[in-house]
Symmetry: C2
Subunit: 399 residues, 2 copies
C-alpha cells in the first residue's frame, strides 16, 4: 500500500505576493509548525555544529536537517531507532528533515556505480562497500524518523550533456516512485526532488512528472553546483510554476542571504544550506552590510558587537574585539559564538521576508536589503567553493 | 609605597577540621565571594575552553584563572585594559585570578635566560623576544585587572639539585618582594608563591620567608611536576603549618578529584587545574566511580546519562550513546558537553568537601569518595603527563 500524504503533515498557503512569486505559508508536522519561507540549519551528523538544541530553540529555529547517508554510517540508523528515533537521540523535539544522502554519494568523489536498482559506493569513513536503493533509503529514513524525508536521487555534476541528464532523470523519477511505494510510516512526509541539470525541458519534465505522484512537497535539487546565479534563477523559473501551488517547495543546498530573496521571489518556501554555519567557523559573520571577516585585525580593538540590535547571545554579550581574539587564538568558543550569530541572522532574515510577504511589501524588503548588503562577488564565491570541493576530494581520496 | 593587603580582599576562616588540616572559609574579592575549598577552572586565553561565562555561572563557578603570559602575547595586556579589563573583555563579572606565567615560561622548553632582574625568553606564538621582570609582570597584571594576582617566580624542573634550588629560591623571594613593592592598584590581592623543589628545608624557608612579607594569600608552586603523590603530600605537610592560618592557601596546578581531598586534608583552600577541562576534550568524563572514556564502544547504545543525579545540562539532556556518537564523529558539541560535565563534577565535589568540613565529617566524606572512586593508577597518570609534555615540547620546538 502506498501512502502519498502523511495525515499529520499539511501545508497552508497564507499569502502570495501580487508582484512576484513570493509566498508565505505554514507547514504542519508531527513535531510542530514551520512558518515559511524558512531557513533550515544543517545538522548533518545529528548536531548543528557547535550548538545545543536549546540554543537552536532560543534563537527561533523551526526545523533542522540531518543526513541519512552520514547517520547510516555513524551511529547507524538502527541504533538511532533503538534510541527512539533522531528527535530523542539528539534531544531536539521540533521538526527534522532528512536528506537521503544522494548529494553526498554523487558529489564527494567516492568510487560509485549506478545501476537501475540503486547505487554502490564506498563509505568516506572506512572505505567499506555500501549499497543504497530507493527502498533501503526509505527504510533508513523510517528508522531515523524525521518528519520530512527525501527520496534517493541521482545528482549529476555541472556541465553534464543533455542525453546523460535525461537518462539519469528518468531513473531518478522511477526511484522517487519506488520510494513512495516503499513507505510504511504514515507520520513522515516524502518529498519529490526535481532534477534535470541546466536543461529547461528536462526541468519541466521533472516538475510535471513528480507533480503527478501527488507527493506532499517538492524539492528542487541539483542547483548551486557550479552554475551561475542567472542559470540557477532560470531553472527555478522553469520549475516552480509547474509545481502544485498548495504544496511546499524546497530549494536544496541554497540559501546565502541574497539567495533567500531570489528563491522566495521565484516561489520557494524552504531553504537549507551549510553556508551560515560553515562560514561562521571560518570567521565570516553576517551583517546587514554583508559579511565581515572577524580574523581581520581591524576588529582587534572594536568594542561594538557584530551587529547592534541583533538579539543573539553573541551580540548581546561580546565585542568584536573579543571575538577577534577568540578566532586569533583558535578557541572553540569563537566558533560557537559565530555560529549562533549567523544562524540568528538567517532566521531573522527569513522572518523579515515572511512578514514582508504577509503585508505585501516583499519587493520593498528586498530593495532595502540590497541597498545595504554587499554580497561577495562571484569570484570570491567560486574560490570558496573550489577550496571546499578540493578539501572534500582530499578527504575522499584519503579513504 | 607598598600596599600589602588590598582593602577589598579578605579571607574568613569558618571551620577547621578537628582531625585533619581541612578548612572551610570565604574569600572576599571586589567581584564577589569565593567559598573555600574551591576548584578554579582555567581560562588561560580569556575563555574556559568551549564554555560561555553564563554556562560557568549556571553550574556554580565562583572564580576562574587566566594567564598573564598568554594574555600579554594575545590579545596584549594593554588591549585588555582598553576594553576595561579582563572581566569586561571576556564578559565574566565574578572573581578572576591571573597566574604570572612563570610556569609557562620555565616549563615549556622555550629558549630562556634568567638573571637577577628577570627572565628573557621567546614567545611560543611567533618566536619574538620577550622580557619579564617582577615589575613588568605586576604592570601586566594590573592592566589585565584580575582580583588576585601572582608574582613572577622561577619554576624548576623535577630533580634539580638542592644547591640550584636554593639559589633560585632566594631569587624567587626577592622577586616576590619586588612584585609587592611594584603594586599600584589597591583593589588587587598579590599572593606569594612557595617554591623549594622537593627539599623540606627549602620549602620551610620559603614558607617562613614569604609569610614575613604579610601577603594576603599564599600559593604553593612547583608541585605536580613529575614527583610522586607521596612526595607532593610530604612537601605540603612541610609548608602549610608554617603559613599564616588566617590567609588562604592555593595549591597551583593540582586538583584531580582524588587530589582535592589530599590537598584539603593538608590545609589547602584553593585549587586550579586544567585536568577536568583537558580530559573532557579527550573524552574522559568524571563519575563517582572514576573516569570513563566516552570513546569506548561500550557506550554506543547506552541511554543513561554520564552520571544519574548530576545537575549539569549534559546529564539532564543527553545519553552516553549520543555523547559517544559526538566524540566518534569529532563534533565540537561533544567537547562542550563533556567540559560542562567535568567542571560541574569538580565544583560539586569541592562543594561537598566544604559542606563536610563545616559539619565535621570531612574524613567520612573522603572515605565515601574513596570507596567508590577508582583513580587512574600512577602509570596512566605518568603516561598522560609524558604525552602532554611531549606535545608541549613539539609546540615549543616549532617556534
Amino acid at each position: 500500500m502506498s501512502i502519498t500524504v502523511a495525515p499529520t503533515f499539511s501545508f497552508t498557503l497564507l499569502a502570495t505576493d501580487a508582484r512576484t512569486g513570493a509566498r508565505a505559508g505554514l507547514v504542519r508536522t508531527p513535531h510542530g509548525d514551520v512558518p515559511t519561507p524558512v531557513y533550515m540549519p544543517v545538522g548533518t551528523q545529528a548536531t548543528v555544529k557547535t550548538l545545543t538544541p536549546d540554543e537552536l530553540k532560543d534563537v527561533g529555529v523551526h526545523i533542522i536537517l540531518a543526513n541519512t547517508y552520514h547517520l547510516s554510517l555513524r551511529p547507524g540508523a538502527e541504533r538511532v531507532a533503538r534510541f527512539g528515533g533522531l528527535h530523542r537521540f539528539m534531544g531536539w523535539d521540533k521538526p527534522i528533515l532528512t536528506d537521503s544522502g544522494g548529494f553526498q554519494i554523487f558529489s564527494l568523489g567516492h568510487l560509485r556505480k549506478v545501476d537501475e536498482d540503486g547505487v554502490t559506493f564506498r563509505s568516506h569513513v572506512d572505505g567499506s562497500p555500501q549499497r543504497f536503493t530507493p527502498e533501503r533509503v526509505v527504510a533508513l529514513e523510517e528508522a531515523i524518523g524525521a518528519d520530512i524525508i527525501m527520496p534517493l536521487d541521482e545528482c549529476l555534476p555541472y556541465g553534464v550533456d543533455e542525453r546523460t541528464a535525461s537518462v539519469s532523470l528518468d531513473r531518478t523519477h522511477r526511484w522517487a516512485a519506488r520510494c513512495q511505494a516503499a513507505r510504511t510510516r504514515p507520520d513522515q512526509a516524502l518529498f519529490g526532488i526535481v532534477q534535470g541539470g541546466m536543461y529547461p525541458a528536462l526541468r519541466r519534465r521533472s516538475a510535471t512528472t513528480l507533480a503527478g505522484l501527488d507527493l506532499p512537497g517538492y524539492a528542487i535539487g541539483g542547483l548551486s553546483i557550479g552554475e551561475s546565479k542567472a542559470e540557477m534563477h532560470a531553472m527555478l523559473e522553469e520549475v516552480t510554476p509547474l509545481l502544485p501551488a498548495h504544496k511546499p517547495r524546497y530549494l536544496m543546498g541554497v540559501g546565502a542571504p541574497e539567495d533567500l530573496f531570489e528563491g522566495v521571489a521565484r516561489g520557494v518556501d524552504m531553504f537549507d544550506v551549510v553556508l551560515p554555519t560553515r562560514l561562521a567557523r571560518n570567521g565570516a559573520l553576517f551583517t546587514p552590510d554583508g559579511r565581515l571577516n572577524i580574523r581581520n585585525s581591524r576588529f582587534a580593538d572594536v568594542e561594538d558587537p557584530i551587529m547592534p540590535g541583533c538579539h543573539c547571545y553573541t551580540c548581546a554579550r561580546f565585542s568584536l574585539g573579543y571575538l577577534h581574539h577568540l578566532f586569533r587564538v583558535e578557541e572553540l568558543l569563537g566558533y560557537r559564538l559565530a555560529t549562533l550569530h549567523n544562524v540568528t541572522f538567517m532566521l531573522d532574515l527569513a522572518g523579515a521576508i515572511r512578514a514582508a510577504v504577509l503585508d505585501g511589501s516583499f519587493i520593498e524588503c528586498h530593495e532595502r536589503f540590497l541597498a545595504g548588503y554587499h554580497a561577495p562577488d562571484a569570484g570570491v564565491r567560486e574560490e570558496q567553493r573550489r577550496r571546499w570541493l578540493e578539501a572534500q576530494a582530499r578527504k575522499a581520496a584519503s579513504v
